[in-house]
């Protein structure tokens, strides 16, 4: 009997076990489970049938270590490891690394601080395919809670929750007086940090919901596209989330493109194309020379008639030319991602295709029973492209719950964490505009409903299920990507950010709470083919 059955099964797992251990031995488990439960509690998945083999390999590594410590040490610095939870496979990969002749390893170092094109060092990657075990979801977790610094914090949170609850019930008069209370409270306290900082934005969002109604977001509009781009750019500069997203996705794409001479990146939302100079750079320096790179950027049609997609494409083409990368750009203007059809992207069967989605998929989760689910439509056309890799970065949050109060609570903690992390950044005025960028998200989550509510963030566990269900399998992001991401953070020199590895995916968070998660996928082979994806 074990008190905590497995690290990965939390909500809803067996609570039948008593919480106190007596001096007698645990009763023998009536079910012979294949995965060793005790090791699962330690964060490792391994089949009991694999134990003797893994033990043997550990012994071999031990002996090898004893006889040539220098080589072993070299192994440590150079090896790229994947999926540390899968004990059998990482021991195997270490052993196979150690028993082969040393080759140089892949390191792609990028200076992400500004848009100046800097050189990057490259070596050759060796990507290993690994088994991943599906981790069960943790549907609701409230992770970091700042120790309430003052009583006013507690009162503020109390009132915010009470107000949200009134709004949910439709009791707008009580809600309104609570809002007055809170504004009074805020006027009297120091709003520099903690929950107070973000409280103002939540009060504002609740007011909008009450006074403008739930389509209120669309009155405000999304701002002009130009304004949005400026805010996005400042958010990009002020804190590491978007840089992490681009960095990690690029690293995975680079590894996926290894060995291919014709590659094609499809960016589902080009924006300013901030992600691509670094990739072009890295491909330029690839040993053996750069491939032919095609980039297809999808974006909304510009209302003012500017062909902004083409402008960005031209700038990228200039860069590519300057580093001798054969490059072709194509813009696809679509107001809705689900309207895109594979033929519009003109993918060549000989190309290696990478599809890149940075915080776009959640917008497609609007459910309308009368239409085909947009997310399914889009995932289907992506899959039809047969991409070598699909990179997905999403906010690690549960902001799409049916219950308004649940959503409100989650968002309160998520965004207070994010605001706290912004405090660590010194750069003004980026910070102020970055806050406005975040504020718009808050407004959308709290004050909008239906098709107006686009910020429908879902946690990684849900995305895993969705993507697996749509015919994709996970491509683990390894120790190299992890290291690059960690190094990126040290460039930011803000204590408090942390990168975590979770079953092949990487997340960036503040004070141990992940706020953004990156994962990579590839299309599962068609049924009927002989390839099995799980041993």
């Amino acid at each position: 009997m074990s008190l905590h059955d497995s690290a990965s099964s939390a909500a809803g797992s067996s609570s039948g076990s008593s919480s106190s251990l007596s001096s007698s031995k645990p009763p023998p488990s009536s079910l012979q489970q294949d995965i060793v439960r005790h090791l699962a509690g330690a964060g490792y998945t391994i089949r009991s049938s694999d134990l003797p083999q893994v033990a043997q390999r550990l012994e071999r590594l031990e002996t090898a270590m004893g006889s040539s410590p220098a080589d072993f040490f070299q192994l440590a610095s150079d090896a790229i490891l994947y999926n540390p939870s899968d004990l059998a496979s990482w021991v195997d990969s270490l052993l196979s690394e150690f028993t082969q002749l040393p080759t140089c390893c892949f390191e792609f170092i990028l200076a992400p601080v500004d848009n100046a094109w800097t050189t990057a060092e490259l070596h050759e990657p060796r990507v290993q395919q690994n088994i991943t075990y599906e981790q069960q979801s943790l549907d609701r977790q409230l992770t970091v809670v700042t120790a309430m610094e003052e009583d006013s914090d507690i009162r503020l949170v109390h009132k915010l929750m009470a107000c949200a609850e009134c709004v949910q019930r439709g009791d707008f008069s009580s809600a309104t007086s609570l809002i007055d209370d809170m504004q009074g409270l805020l006027a009297r306290v120091n709003t520099v940090c903690g929950i107070r900082k973000v409280a103002g934005h939540f009060i504002d969002a609740l007011s909008r919901r009450i006074f403008l109604g739930i389509g209120g977001g669309s009155v405000d509009g999304c701002g002009s596209a130009f304004e949005n781009e400026i805010l996005y750019h400042h958010f990009y500069e002020a804190c590491p989330y978007l840089k992490f997203a681009h960095f990690t996705a690029n690293q995975a794409i680079l590894e996926a493109f290894d060995g291919h001479d014709c590659v094609h990146v499809v960016d589902v939302n080009l924006m300013h194309g901030l992600q691509w100079p670094a990739l072009i750079q890295a491909l330029a320096l690839r040993p053996g020379g750069p491939p032919l790179l095609r980039l297809t950027g999808i974006g909304s049609p510009s209302p003012d008639g500017r062909d902004s997609l083409r402008e960005i494409g031209s700038r990228l083409a200039v860069l590519a030319r300057s580093v001798n990368v054969r490059f072709a750009f194509r813009g696809v203007a679509a107001s809705r991602l689900e309207d895109v059809k594979p033929w519009m992207l003109q993918v060549n069967p000989k190309e290696a295709v990478a599809v890149n989605s940075i915080m776009q998929l959640h917008c497609l989760l609007i459910s309308d029973p009368t239409l085909n689910s947009p997310i399914e439509t889009v995932l289907n056309w992506i899959r039809d492209l047969n991409p070598k890799i699909l990179t997905v970065v999403e906010q690690e949050a549960n902001h799409n719950q049916l219950d308004f109060l649940d959503r409100f609570t989650e968002a309160l903690y998520y965004y207070s964490r994010m605001f706290d992390s912004l405090e660590a950044c010194r750069v003004q005025p980026e910070k102020a505009l970055a806050e406005i960028y975040i504020q718009k998200e808050i407004r959308n989550v709290v004050s909008c409903e239906g098709s107006a509510r686009v910020e429908r963030h879902e946690p990684l566990a849900k995305w895993r299920r969705r993507l697996s269900g749509a015919g994709f399998m996970s491509l683990p992001l390894g120790s190299n990507a992890f290291k690059q991401a960690s190094m990126l953070l040290t460039l930011f020199s803000a204590e408090g950010y942390s990168v975590q590895e979770n079953d092949g995916c990487l997340s960036l968070g503040w004070h141990s709470r992940p706020l953004i998660a990156a994962s990579a996928w590839q299309a599962m082979p068609e049924p009927g083919s002989c390839v099995s994806c799980l041993e």
Binding site: S2, S15, K25, I46, L51, Q141
Partner: protein, 344 residues
Amino acid sequence: MSASNEINLNESKMVVPLNTWVLISSFKLAYNLLRRPDGTFNRHLAEFLDRRVPANVNPVGGVFSFDVLIDRATGLLSRVYRPAIGEEPQPNFFDLERPVTAEVVPVIIFFHGGSFAHSSANSAIYDHLCRILVGTCKAVVVSVNYRRAPENRYPCAYDDGWTALKWVNSRSWLKSRKDSKVHVYLAGDSSGGNIAHHVALRAVESGIDILGNILLNPMFGGQERTESEKRLDGKYFVTLRDRDWYWKAFLPDGTDRDHPACNPFGPKGRSLEGIQFPKSLVVVAGLDLIQDWQLAYVEGLKKADQEVKLLYMEQATIGFYLLPNNDHFHVVMDEISKFVSSDC
């Protein structure tokens, strides 16, 4: 060299269940990859390999947890584990710091092990252990995510422990009904045990009451090479060389292992005679190469007339308490439970 290695491997395999052997051996392997000969530590790889679990406000096995930022300036986080009350659904924010209701509630401040360099409060193995402690002792457990070596040397870990103690001691929601005081115990394994001792010392000097210290395979050492170190070097997962590396990484530059942090009752240490030190429960594994230092620690406490109970687990190796699949584990949990409940 390889012949004796084989003997060593076989010996350790005979005393622990296979899954424990695999777990501890893979830690050993990983840790070997992380310690560089020049004294630096491959922190990126360490963070990548360490298996972590998030906190969970949904009760699992009757325990829920949440993370708290105790000190903004140093970024000191701790994970609080509380027993869930009855069949209630997931707690909301206000339930997290709801006052404890029993007459006496022990609060155990836990310092995870890792030889001062490895692991975190949210490492899976320690999250697991803390949850068990909640159930065993009917306690609230606060697991401190102290700063680690070599990036943060002595006395950072002790300072963080002290900060956590002050925080715990000042939480009104942790006060036992009986006397409106927080009933604090300090506990830790390996380096955590060492930290518990030093934090207790500081507590005593500052007038904070600690009801007891629980030290699991505490990490102590000294310049001298003891008999157990020579006899057991390399035999059961641990080598003298790695012990030396960790002390070098933690202790101030230019000091040796007789520094009182490492050797509290050694030539540079001091006696605790006349001091109101808390009672101690010290667990020593019979196959741990540093046991002579741990036993010397117990002797040092006894000589100073301090209350101490020694639990010597003959056939136990390091890390035996990480998996509940052996007798030692259950014996120790029983003793810890008695140690804590005897004050209730």
